[in-house]
């Protein structure tokens, strides 16, 4: 059945249409594989009953000639940050113990309504805070490309479960969320495609909030074309999210498969070429440049002068918002409650027990930078720098149509590495964070292998709401990168 699991969405769509196989067969193949690959810990909750029922319904629709479109009957995974009606939602945290939302997030509802079949909820860093998926209350996720040198590897984070599940063929696609790189960095580590759309493109309604001004849902797939198909269904204006944008999405799949990038101008941000960049990352980047040139794009250097402040800015703004967003987990209305003799004590014990170390650290940082006497020096200043960073991109896009950059500074590292010093961990986001701060669309696609045979991703960054151009360039790059998105560990 590994052939069924190795299909792209596009191929599965066509196969279903030709009645080569049924949605139920697709689902059964995946459920069986999920069970067999339990040690990856990619899923927190497997929704086998839901999946079987939805697959059967999809098959029924097909028989009735009432198929809903590209995703009808396609088995996907949902990051466990999206609230799902009647299905436990954890955000990878102990504090949401027993929480079963009576509502479905807008994005997952759109996918459900399009006929996509939810296989389960994927693992993630607690409250999406992390770059390794080791902060999950439900345990670390293993990268299906590992182990290396006898050590299991991280899948990246925070959407590590989704990335691992897509790479290990435990679903055809998955949803992720990206705040500072949480879709793109795990996509790079796991050798898949991950796209963070423009801020405001996908509704945040029903997604457990980490940092509201940065959080954005996006697709994680095994091809650029599939990312386009997924995003087409996920995106769209939602009047329940005041930051959602009423801007037309356009025809994304056509852009992804067009292949023609002649005349497009692609910028290389010179500040990203920092001292100490690994040789293989630099080489990968060069390979990308050459492919784009060979395809007729013009590649030029551009400057994003405030890049070096991005990480510091991000690690003020994101924790500030998180400290406030996570105040609602207080033991009063849902989730974990540790009983105590007073309200304050109940808060302290519930939150002390319910949140892991990384979440507690970020809440503390966030509360600190917002507190009286520090607000101006930290939060306010960070907001000003954020505007400057966004301004860098605006200026660059006066002369170029998109940017090309590496996604992450390294390939996947081993579980347990980089844990001693949070700063080392935060450096994983150095190439992804500036785009997040500017709210721009960006895609990571696998473009080569490291010396250890692990995948490395390149990133295309575009103008606001110009996902189509990002997908067009990514599709062209993908076609010539010659990357076989197959983990060594494929058990099929």
């Amino acid at each position: 059945m590994s052939t069924l699991r190795s299909l792209s969405i596009a191929a599965a769509r066509d196969g279903l249409a030709r009645r080569d196989f049924s949605a139920v067969e697709l689902v059964e193949a995946h459920l069986e594989a999920i069970e067999a690959a339990g040690d990856l810990n990619a899923y927190i909750t497997v929704t086998a009953d839901v999946a079987r029922a939805r697959a059967a319904a999809a098959d029924d629709r097909r028989r009735q000639k009432e198929t809903r479109g590209d995703l009808d009957g396609i088995p996907i995974a949902i990051k466990d940050l999206f609230c799902t009606e009647g299905v436990r939602t954890t955000a990878g945290s102990h504090i949401l113990d027993g929480f079963v939302p009576p509502y479905e997030s807008t994005v997952s509802a759109k996918l459900r309504d399009a006929g996509a079949v939810m296989l389960g909820k994927t693992n993630l860093d607690e409250f999406a805070m992390g770059s390794s998926n080791v902060t999950s209350h439900f345990g670390a996720v293993k990268n299906p490309w590992g182990p290396r040198d006898g050590k299991d590897l991280v899948p990246g984070g925070s959407s590590g479960g989704s990335a691992a599940a897509v790479a290990a063929r435990l679903c055809l696609a998955a949803t992720g969320t990206d705040t500072g790189g949480s879709i793109r960095q795990p996509a790079s580590f796991c050798g898949i495609v991950g796209m963070k759309p423009t801020y405001g493109r996908c509704s945040r309604w029903g997604i457990v909030a980490f940092a509201s001004s940065l959080d954005q849902a996006g697709p994680m797939t095994r091809s650029v074309q599939d990312a386009a198909i997924m995003l087409q269904e996920m995106a769209g204006y939602d009047d329940r999210d005041s930051t959602s944008a009423p801007i037309e999405v356009g025809a994304l799949e056509q852009a992804a498969v067009a292949g023609d990038i002649r005349g497009l101008k692609v910028g290389i941000p010179v500040e990203y070429r920092f001292d100490g960049m690994s040789g293989e990352i630099a080489a990968l980047w060069q390979k990308g440049i050459e492919i784009l040139r060979a395809r007729g794009a013009e590649v030029v250097d551009v400057s994003l002068p405030h890049t070096r402040y991005a990480l510091a800015t991000y690690y003020i703004i994101a924790p500030a918002e998180a400290s406030s967003n996570l105040a609602r987990y207080d033991g009063v209305r849902f989730g974990l409650r540790v009983k105590a003799d007073s309200l304050d004590e109940m808060y302290e014990m519930t939150r002390g027990e319910g949140f892991g170390a990384e979440v507690r650290r970020r809440i503390l940082i966030g509360a600190y930078v917002l507190s009286a006497g520090y607000y101006d020096a930290y939060y306010l200043k960070a907001q000003k720098v954020r505007s400057l960073i966004a301004g860098d991109f605006t200026l660059a896009f006066d002369t170029v149509d998109a940017l090309l950059a590496p996604t992450a500074p390294s390939d996947a590292f081993a579980i347990g590495e980089k844990m001693d010093d949070p700063i080392t961990m935060y450096l994983n986001d150095v190439f992804t964070v500036p785009t997040s701060l500017a709210g721009l669309p960006a895609i990571s696609l696998p473009a080569g292998l490291s010396g250890r045979g692990l995948p490395l991703g390149l990133q295309i960054i575009g103008r606001p709401f110009d996902e189509a151009t990002v997908l067009r360039i990514a599709g062209a790059l993908e076609a010539d990168a010659g990357f076989e998105p197959l983990p060594v560990r494929d058990d099929g």
Partner: protein, 497 residues
């Protein structure tokens, strides 16, 4: 001049606390939380009815479930803009909602969405009406829009506090005055004026007892003649005009005593205890928060167009001050009467219905002197008046067409106040009517003159006062139905003959 104006001279004197060594004045600023009149909450579609079953008007947004997002209710903003215009205030076309972070069990999100650095409404002013038609301008610093919290119920269970989130997320307007208030009376007049404005505009119920208007009072004192402001205390959540006035009086006296005994007033939050008639300091823990305000990233800055504001301005209901001026200009009422009649929208509407087609001064007199006395005595509001404006109008018509005398009209009015029915029915039932027929009156006058030669002689001897006695005799003889004015004139004429 009305009885209340006997105090005029007193009212014009500044409010001064006579200390042991010197005189002190009180400086007061008020922060009023007025609940926006709206069917739905500020950021959710949940209902806002008062007195509903606990937790029956709570949406997932109000309960701050994971992933829920606020969506601004445009009607609440319209109401707040309307109120801002009513306060003669600048409307800020860009304002920002911020998060005020603190933990409490009835604050589901752990933050209140409020406005901080950039409020919707900027500086304005209101005129307050003081005794005898005088008025004073009180500055408004700002009006901002925010969410209310839920309610903690500490007395429903021996060991648990229960939470009712019906109120959580309801829209409030916080209206902050300048420290322009100088006495408890002015504070009372300010609150009554604010209440009148929001009721005229239909933007708030203005009901302090139900909590749709709540008040925090900032109080400081300083020696008369000083210009520097001294440390103020804040008295939280005072829930009636009377208590606000009492609280200011007590707190000012306390502060004077503190200074005069060599102490210093601490900046702190206090509560007013109406049963003991004193303020007491809250524990530091009850108010010492660092709220960590920052712009709410779930909401974009609120941007209004000048056209939008102009549209609201064009549809403003008449305000109390405008109505008061109209009464002075069109009805010829005194400033005092006009202020009294316009203080409550319902009273003004009652008055206008009554004055329609009648003598406006007579109508004003009857409402202020007679009707308000009855309402006061019966403890009723004008909305529940025992006498409708139409019935009172019918009564005045009987009087002005000389069907009944003024004295009879009072009698009928008292009967109406006790639920006696329509004025015409009472007049008929009691056989009240006025003899205005000249022939009949002349006969009665002639009979009185003929029957009392001794008194006639006294009158002609120069005792003018005896005339009143004659009127009394004739009224008695006619069972009070003779028109006193006509009787008077006839008597004079005939006695002098």
């Amino acid at each position: 001049m009305r009885a209340s104006c006997i105090k005029e001279n007193i009212a014009k004197m500044p409010y001064v606390i006579h200390g042991e060594n010197r005189d002190w004045e009180v400086i007061v600023g008020l922060e009023v939380h007025a609940q926006v009149k709206s069917k739905a909450k500020l950021f959710s579609g949940a209902a806002t009815d008062f007195g509903a079953e606990p937790n029956s008007q709570v949406s997932l947004v109000d309960a701050a479930f994971p992933g829920m997002l606020p969506v601004l209710n445009g009607f609440c903003i319209e109401q707040a803009v309307r109120t801002g215009i009513g306060l003669n205030a600048a409307i800020n076309l860009v304002s920002v909602f911020e998060r005020k972070n603190y933990f409490y069990a009835d604050l589901p999100a752990g933050y209140q969405i409020s406005q901080y650095q950039r409020p919707l409404v900027g500086e304005g002013w209101v005129n307050i009406d003081l005794a005898c038609g005088s008025s004073k301008r009180i500055g408004i610093e700002r009006l901002h829009v925010e969410q209310d919290a839920g309610k903690s119920l500490h007395d429903q269970h021996p060991t648990y506090t229960l939470i009712d989130l019906n109120r959580a997320g309801v829209a409030l307007m916080e209206i902050v005055s300048r420290p322009d208030v100088r006495s408890p009376e002015e504070a009372g007049a300010y609150l009554r004026k604010l209440r009148a404005i929001v009721r005229y505009l239909d933007t708030c119920d203005g009901n302090m007892e139900q909590g749709s208007m709540r008040c925090d009072v900032n109080v400081s004192v300083r020696p008369v003649g000083d210009n520097e402001l001294r440390t103020r205390t804040e008295i939280k959540n005072v829930n009636s005009v009377r208590f606000v006035m009492q609280a200011i009086e007590r707190e000012a006296e306390r502060q004077v005593e503190v200074y005069e005994t060599g102490g210093a007033v601490r900046q702190e939050t206090r509560l007013y205890d109406p049963t003991k008639g004193e303020t007491r300091a809250m524990r530091a823990k009850e108010f010492a928060h660092d709220y960590r305000y920052f712009p709410d990233p779930d909401l974009l800055p609120l941007t209004l167009t000048a056209e939008y504001v102009a549209g609201i301005r064009a549809t403003m209901a008449e305000l109390p001050d405008q109505r008061k001026q109209r009464y002075i200009d069109d009805y010829g009422l005194s400033a005092y009467d006009a202020a009294v009649l316009t203080a409550e929208k319902e009273a003004a509407e009652y008055y206008e219905r009554l004055a329609d087609g009648r003598d406006p001064k007579l109508a004003a007199n009857w409402v202020i002197t007679n009707l308000f006395a009855v309402l006061n005595k019966q403890g009723r509001s004008i909305a529940n008046s025992p006498i409708s404006a139409d019935d009172l109008g019918a009564l005045l018509d009987l009087m002005t067409t000389n069907k009944i005398s003024g004295r009879q009209a009072k009698e009928v009015f008292e009967a109406m106040a006790e639920g006696g029915g329509k004025p015409e029915a009472i007049v008929a039932e009691r056989g009240l009517s006025q003899i205005t027929d000249a022939g009949a009156l002349e006969a009665a006058v002639d009979a009185a003159i003929a029957g009392n030669p001794k008194q006639v002689a006294q009158f002609r001897g120069g005792n003018d006062k005896i005339l009143g006695w004659f009127v009394g005799q004739i009224m008695k003889a006619t069972k009070g139905q003779a028109n006193p004015g006509q009787v008077n004139a006839l008597l004079r004429k005939k006695l002098k003959d």
